[in-house]
């Protein structure tokens, strides 16, 4: 698709003058108007646009919050309450920002699972996928540091626990943690640097997003059939108006979910303990990270060894970057891979349960037989962790070798035809939107 020729025709003299010097209008036209989009994309493909919307929303509300926030241990909590009570629409900015982070992760997880189901990481989209993993990691770092800023109990103890992960590194671990803190504990220097980095990282995310979109527009979008575009006229539609209007519709639907939380349930996704000002002398009874970190936190806790747990957690994220080479199947789309489809959904459920395990007290019983605890939360987490790694390291490599895929359609247009004609098994995924 990178070979797609520009169809931009400057109409007026001014447009021609600009185009000869800085073809920015041409760039926008080629990437947001005439850019060819596979015609069979389903609504899961709208989450890229939704994520862009969320990134912009977070940056705007974030900049506004910075105008009123004070990054100092004595004033941070107070200044957040000042925003909530005194600043015009401050409550809206703050709730939109805190819930926006959650919505950002909702969208990114759907986006990632969509990529996994339809094999969007396979050639020629490996770099596109890896850039996505980089964005995900930056997002996690940004969200983590942002959560520290209100300087509540969860802020403080979350910062303490997560920075202490680095103390697991042999020999230099303690020095690294001291360096991260800028002191002997999480304190004012830590808050200030987290604030600075929390402001910086979103712009780095923005930069990587540009690369991500560039890579996407170079190789073209994957699609539910997993078959590459063969005939532009038959297989694709121009981005505007087809994808534009569909993305806009999906964005507004997503905004309704967002608004539900912001306006009617603003603290559901947060934690009550973060409304208690940070106290370095008292840890809350049960500390948990924000929901979007829970699966990884579940992996961390499942490993009984400190260094092992930290390594397992980072490995579980790093593994994602190797996915293009771990999945050995030649077929992209899960719609044509009967066995993969089952394993995919099992994997989704495992991730959900890892999150559940991460949220629960470690000594909680999961399975009791005759009054005896057969499985507690740690054991449950261990089973799930083993499965998580097995999915990437055993199941995906082997599946590609042994699985017998369904016959692929000859082209995107054919897959559309097949699904509109009669109830094709892959209908739910491959039908064009009407």
């Amino acid at each position: 698709m990178g070979e797609h020729h520009s169809t931009y025709v400057p109409k007026t003299g001014i447009e021609r003058w600009v185009d000869a010097r800085l073809p920015i209008v041409r760039l926008m036209h080629d990437s947001a108007v005439s850019y060819p989009v596979p015609r069979n994309l389903n609504y899961f493909w709208t989450f890229g646009g939704i994520l862009m919307l969320m990134l912009v929303s977070q940056i705007i509300t974030g900049i506004v919050l910075v105008m009123h926030y004070t990054p100092h241990v004595d004033f941070a909590f107070q200044s957040v309450e000042h925003i909530m009570r005194d600043v015009n629409y401050g409550w809206l900015m703050r709730y939109a920002h805190s819930n926006g982070a959650s919505m950002f992760f909702v969208a990114v997880y759907i986006h990632m699972f969509r990529g996994m189901y339809y094999g969007s990481y396979k050639a020629p989209r490996e770099l596109l996928w890896i850039l996505g993993v980089v964005i995900f990691v930056l997002m996690m770092a940004t969200a983590f540091m942002g959560y520290v800023l209100p300087w509540g109990q969860m802020s403080f103890w979350g910062a303490t626990v997560i920075t202490n992960l680095f103390s697991a590194i042999p020999i230099v671990g303690e020095s690294i943690v001291t360096w991260l803190w800028g002191g002997y504990s999480v304190d004012n220097p830590t808050l200030n640097r987290f604030f600075a980095l929390h402001y910086l990282l979103p712009f780095m995310i923005f930069g990587v997003v540009i690369l991500h979109v560039w890579a996407l527009h170079h190789v073209g979008q994957n699609n539910p059939s997993g078959v590459e575009v063969k005939n532009y006229a038959k297989d694709t539609v121009p981005f505007t108006p087809y994808a534009t209007v569909k993305d806009l519709f999906a964005m507004v639907c997503f905004l309704m979910v967002f608004a539900w939380f912001v306006f009617f349930h603003p603290n559901f996704l947060g934690h009550a303990d973060n409304y208690i000002p940070a106290d370095p002398l008292k840890t809350p009874a049960h500390i948990v990270p924000e929901w979007y970190f829970l699966p990884f936190y579940g992996i961390l806790r499942a490993v009984p060894d400190k260094l092992g747990g930290v390594l397992a957690m980072f490995a579980s994220i790093a593994l994602l970057a190797f996915l293009p080479w771990l999945d050995t199947s030649k077929v992209k789309s899960g719609a044509y891979r009967p066995a993969f489809k089952i394993f995919f959904w099992v994997f989704v459920v495992v991730c959900l349960f890892l999150g559940y395990a991460g949220s629960q007290p470690t000594d909680k019983a999961v399975l009791t037989l005759g009054g005896r605890v057969v499985l507690d939360m740690v054991g449950f987490g261990q089973i799930l962790t083993i499965y998580y790694f097995a999915h990437f390291l055993v199941i995906l490599p082997l599946l590609g070798l042994f699985e017998k895929p369904l016959p692929l359609p000859a082209s995107i247009a054919d897959s559309v035809l097949a699904s509109t004609g009669h109830g094709h098994p892959a209908g739910a995924h491959a039908s064009p939107e009407k």
């Binding site: 108007v33 015609r39 705007i60 506004v64 105008m67 009123h68 000042h82 009570r85 005194d86 600043v87 015009n88 629409y89 401050g90 809206l92 900015m93 532009y232 006229a233 038959k234 539609v237 121009p238 505007t240 108006p241 806009l248």
Partner: protein
Amino acid sequence: MADNTMKAPGASEPDRRDFLLLATGAAGAVAVGGIAWPLISQMNPDASTVAAGAPVEVDLAPIGEGKAITLKWRGKPIFVRHRTAQEIAEARKDDNAALPDRQADAERVRAFDGKPQEQWIVVYGNCTHLGCVPIGFSGEYNGWYCPCHGSHYDNSGRIRRGPAPRNLDIPEFAFLSASKIRIG
């Protein structure tokens, strides 16, 4: 029909789509406006700032004749000057001089109980040129002199010479008694 798909947007069936497109565009524009307003409004003074800027009462008794004080209200200096009879006479004498911002001295004082309290001058302490704070009892007219760009004010706070365009502004204030004012 197939090449229909590659036509420019809006090239086909404009009539059927026009109203819908307009309505959607209008609804979208309203939504964008609705989002923009809180983002703009949040930069206005917040409720605590507005509340802290409530009127204040100032006791004039400690300010002796020929003296002045500077107090801070809403973050700005306010000069309260207790003029001598001679100073008042000097100011009134120039009522008809060639003043850049013509105003009689009597218009710059407030009354209590029907009696003008001409010994009290209350002005914002920011030069009307670019906002610096002029120095009291100095300048060619023994009023105020702004060191930033050389504006001279008389003891009534009227601009006499220099780049300032206006007399020193008078805040909203009223006498609660002969020795007490409320500013704001």
